[in-house]
Symmetry: C2
Subunit: 221 residues, 2 copies
């Protein structure tokens, strides 16, 4: 690559980044109805540049999400160095639910289609991976029951995220409260009462999501 090519590529990456940041900010403030023209203007790039990077608003939304998920993975990996593995696991969960609340519109938009997008699916698998590592450390440290898997935690955590998206604007303590309840369910001494069934795997979850993609038609008379 010549120096000129390198400069062009750096420039292109900067523009892409600017669009992502501008779109993230506007979606956060005003929801997904913000138009691409306004996003381009806010980013200080032309509409052509925007469309070259993101041919549709869906593509833009997916890219923001992959970006956010990547940040969450980085955050989780940093927590793998934490001196308190039990705290680290719950800190990771609290961080994710906080991020989902901030970028709620973006997360809600992809709730049903994540499996269809290879990049989102890969980012999801990475999050599951780092969650699994944090969980394993917490279990080794005796802070969390042994009879539980990462997908169990993620499924319970989905309930917390639901509570957050439904109630956080009413009661700011509802998310910490439900994280506390999740934590109570994971206490090592709770394992005295064994769980039925087995811990689901990521493959189970992807298989279930693929099947759920075939949704019943909505109600119209």
């Amino acid at each position: 690559m010549t120096q000129g090519e390198r400069a062009l590529r750096a420039d292109a990456e900067r523009n892409r980044r600017r669009v992502l940041d501008a779109a993230g900010e506007l979606f956060r403030e005003r929801g997904l109805e913000v138009g691409v023209g306004e996003i381009a203007e806010h980013a200080g790039v032309g509409r052509g540049t925007l469309f070259r990077n993101f041919p549709s608003k869906e593509a833009l939304i997916a890219a923001i999400l992959v970006d956010r998920m990547g940040e969450a993975v980085d955050f989780g990996q940093a927590l793998l160095e934490s001196a308190d593995p039990g705290e680290a696991l719950f800190e990771f969960l609290a961080e994710i639910v906080g991020r989902q609340q901030v970028d709620r519109a973006v997360f809600e938009a992809v709730a049903d289609i994540w499996l269809a997008n290879d990049e989102i699916r890969a980012a999801h698998a990475q999050i599951v991976g780092v969650l699994g590592d944090l969980l394993a450390r917490a279990q080794e440290a005796g802070a969390v029951r042994q009879d539980i898997g990462a997908m169990d935690v993620l499924m319970m955590f989905k309930g917390v995220c639901e509570a957050a998206s439904a109630f956080a604007h009413i009661d700011s303590e509802i998310v910490p409260r439900h994280l506390d309840l999740l934590r109570a369910a994971l206490r090592p001494d709770a394992a005295a009462q064994p769980l039925r069934g087995r811990a689901p795997t990521l493959e189970d979850v992807e298989r279930a999501a693929a099947k759920a993609g075939v949704k019943p038609a909505s109600a119209t008379a």
Copy 2:
């Protein structure tokens, strides 16, 4: 009311019941796309009779739901006589999630609009009421932690229902497993670690649902 009027009314009630049963059965087997003509035929009533009782498919779906919720309330009230108040609470939850799975299409159709329908809202309040009574009995018996309210249980339970609708067709043990985890979170000795926040009330939940009704526009470029 004359004898003739009484007979007419009994006849009308029978027809209404037949339509509800036929629609419930067909929706369960094939989803909500089943047409009203087929429902009328299956019920053995004319289309006019069906439309007189249920002017739209939405009205029919709402009526089925109110019916199912009424049955759940009856079931819960019977459990208030149970000799084991702790078991009774979890039996009630298991029963509700089972019912939701059976009539999944109907429950999903109203997930976003329940607050707008006075009858569904009233039935929901009744379910919360009986859940509160079952919880209070379980707490008095020392089977469940004291620092928890019916809406806390219902919000955690929503996570179980999510898991059920996403995974029950893949892994039949996933629902019992997550009910066990919910139960672990509610164990009296878990209260040694106090929860942040306060138990939400039904009013909080209705207020939150009303606000959530104003959804962000979906993503379109």
